[in-house]
């Protein structure tokens, strides 16, 4: 029973990591850039929702606010791409890494200024309380999180495989110049990807906030999501989700069965192990070029 309990809460945490990792992978797949601020995007999305939904702020009903949140985060992602990232378009990855880290700092500061640094909780319809099945205490929020994540991943996966836009995004990622030649508006595509990543981040943020309190440092879990993305193999959507689940499940088990102090290390140790033995993750996307 205890194992099952740990498993479910781990899976729910893992889903949030997985969704943030999806955000990384989306941007990476389409623009070959890594958004080190994705965790902070997630935190921002959660706070925007909180600002709209909670009665002490705007107090809009949740289901009305939801599309609004998506629009806000999507537009924000698109604007960030236009204003900041387009300027480092085609430059070395160092520049992109540094710019996104800096963006994360700025977002954290802005959120702290607007909504304060105190932990707050979101009035989310997913926060349903617990149910008891025999000895098992299940947070309904956990289960909802798992379901929403599965749906999200499936939709995104189909998007990349089936739609014209998704294919264009993949093409733009693999070779910008060739994509230009094929008539793909690479810049606009990249903006769309950032918008999409913003929306995914908002979903992740809402799920995260449904499970507990929220404060501006929540964005730091982005680092665990990194571990997730790398374990899954950067560039693979199902891989990102799987990596998230692995990291999420390892954590509660490590803190239950390992001596204190060692448990925080577990996800990062796993990350380093994966990087050493399978440097491109479980779902490797690196293939030798055929000449």
């Amino acid at each position: 029973m205890e194992v099952l309990q740990l498993l479910i809460s781990g899976l729910a945490n893992g889903c949030v990591y997985g969704l943030i990792a999806l955000g990384f992978v989306l941007i990476y797949k389409a623009t070959e850039a890594v958004n080190f601020a994705q965790g902070d995007f997630m935190m921002l999305g959660a706070f925007v929702t909180l600002g709209l939904v909670n009665p002490e702020y705007a107090g809009i009903p949740f289901w009305l606010a939801l599309p609004l949140v998506f629009v806000i985060m999507g537009v924000l992602g698109y604007l960030l791409d236009i204003v900041v990232l387009r300027a480092v378009f085609g430059q070395s990855q160092v520049a992109v890494i540094i710019v996104t880290i800096a963006l994360g700092f700025v977002i954290r500061f802005a959120v702290g200024e607007i909504w304060g640094h105190e932990p707050q909780s979101l009035r989310s319809p997913l926060a349903l309380g617990d149910v008891r099945i025999g000895e098992l205490v299940l947070g309904l929020a956990d289960i909802a999180v798992i379901i929403v994540t599965l749906i999200m991943t499936f939709l995104l996966w189909q998007f990349f495989q089936r739609t014209k836009m998704g294919l264009a995004m993949q093409a733009a990622s693999q070779n910008q110049m060739a994509a230009y030649y094929m008539g793909i508006p690479v810049k606009r595509i990249q903006g769309m990807v950032w918008a999409l990543a913003g929306i995914v981040a908002a979903v992740a943020g809402i799920l995260y906030a449904s499970k507990g309190a929220l404060d501006p440092t929540a964005g730091f879990i982005g680092i665990k999501a990194f571990a997730a993305a790398v374990i899954g193999g950067f560039g693979s959507l199902p891989g990102a989700l799987l990596g998230g689940l692995i990291v999420g499940v390892i954590e509660p088990f490590a803190s239950r069965y390992l001596p204190p102090g060692w448990s925080q290390i577990a996800p990062y140790a796993l990350l380093i192990a994966v990087l050493l033995f399978r440097p491109h993750g479980l779902f490797a996307q690196v293939r030798a070029k055929k000449v």
């Binding site: 890594v34 890494i97 800096a102 700092f105 954290r108 102090g261 050493l276």
Partner: protein, 360 residues
């Protein structure tokens, strides 16, 4: 504009381009030596702080600026340098020996870590080193017997050839000690760049494939770069810990390595001067900010303001001046030297297109 009539191949790699450059740096050295006579102990402490940041920054600059590898894990090596130095000092090893050994230990550990890590490219390396920085924080706590975990350690007074130096009693000696280390590191750095190894670094940074074609052993070069970089950063970390007076795992958390990276970008990637300019920015930014907030009557410190403002500064730099402060100075200098013949596009970068790393 000065023109050089070259009569000797050595002229191309001389430490100083000509007599004028030499006299400029000599003047700078005299100024640095005379600084304690000109400013009061508080600002001298700040100057020492700047120099310590510059040492740590030079370490990362060697890796990121010269060899083109991003590391977000240099806080781990600062911690290693600091803890090993202090532990050796507590075991009654003379300071000079402990300090240099700390650098050597950090360098060797860095090189060992680099061997597997450098198989990774760009983003993967950044993430692996970031994980390393976070791990270091936890490992310090785990190794309580040696590091005293979260309680931290007090740094022992420095005993330099029987002459005791403590930060509060003799800040001037502290300053000179740091200045000596800075001189040592900078000269080493500058000479390294003139040596074949430094050329190999630049070749690896600019294109691994062409470096390989020219006979550079890429993996080995990167490993050496990582090792030397870690050694220098370790020295900086040791000084930082000793200067702070007390330190624990929080002193060297991963935000420090991000700050370090930001510092060299603001200063100017790939320039020795950049590390120093960046250090000035990062050391004085908190003071400037607290003065400004006082001015606007918000007496209480605003949490996160420092990193927020630094983030904005950094974004502006990457957008408008990717070459950093020193790059801006180079442009201004070229403009003045060539006046009125400087053209706007002289520093324009070539347009480049990105190809995936997933197919190689």
């Amino acid at each position: 504009m000065r023109f050089h009539f070259k009569t000797d191949y050595d002229q191309d790699i001389r430490l100083f381009e000509d007599g004028w450059t030499f006299s400029l740096y000599a003047a700078l050295l005299v100024l640095a030596l005379a600084l304690p006579l000109m400013i009061d102990p508080f600002f001298l402490g700040e100057a020492t702080n700047v120099l310590i940041w510059a040492i740590a920054g030079l370490g990362l600059m060697l890796l990121t600026g010269q060899t083109g590898q991003v590391s977000l894990g240099h806080s781990a090596f600062m911690a290693l340098g600091c803890y090993s130095c202090v532990l050796m000092m507590e075991a009654n090893v003379p300071f000079v020996v402990a300090f240099l050994l700390a650098g050597v230990i950090t360098g060797v550990v860095g090189a060992l870590i680099a061997i597997p890590a450098l198989k990774l490219h760009g983003v993967y390396l950044a993430i692996a080193t970031l994980a390393l920085a976070i791990l270091a924080d936890d490992i310090i706590v785990l190794l309580k017997e040696w590091t005293d975990g979260v309680n931290g350690k007090m740094s022992p007074p420095i005993d330099l050839f029987g002459y005791e130096i403590s930060r509060w009693n003799n800040p001037i000696e502290w300053y000179y000690l740091t200045l000596a280390v800075v001189l040592m590191v900078t000269l080493f750095y500058r000479n390294l760049l003139r040596a074949p190894l430094g050329r190999a670094f630049a070749a690896v940074r600019d294109s691994e494939i062409s470096a390989q074609a020219m006979g550079v052993n890429v993996a080995q070069t990167k490993t050496i770069a990582f090792g030397i970089s870690c050694a220098i950063t370790g020295l900086g970390g040791a000084l930082m810990g000793l200067f702070a007076g007390a330190f624990n795992n929080e002193t060297f958390n991963f935000l420090l390595s991000i700050q370090l990276l930001m510092m060299i970008v603001v200063g100017g990637l790939g320039f020795i001067h950049g590390a120093f300019l960046g250090a000035v920015v990062i050391a004085f930014l908190p003071q400037v900010l607290s003065m400004t907030t006082d001015l606007f009557g918000r007496g209480v410190a605003i949490p996160g303001l420092e990193s927020g403002v630094f983030g904005v500064i950094l974004i502006l730099f990457i957008l408008f001046e990717p070459m950093g402060l020193y790059g801006r100075w180079l442009k201004i200098r070229t403009f003045l030297e060539l006046f009125p013949f400087a053209r706007k596009d002289m520093f324009k970068r070539q347009k480049s297109y990105l190809k995936t790393e997933r197919l190689r």
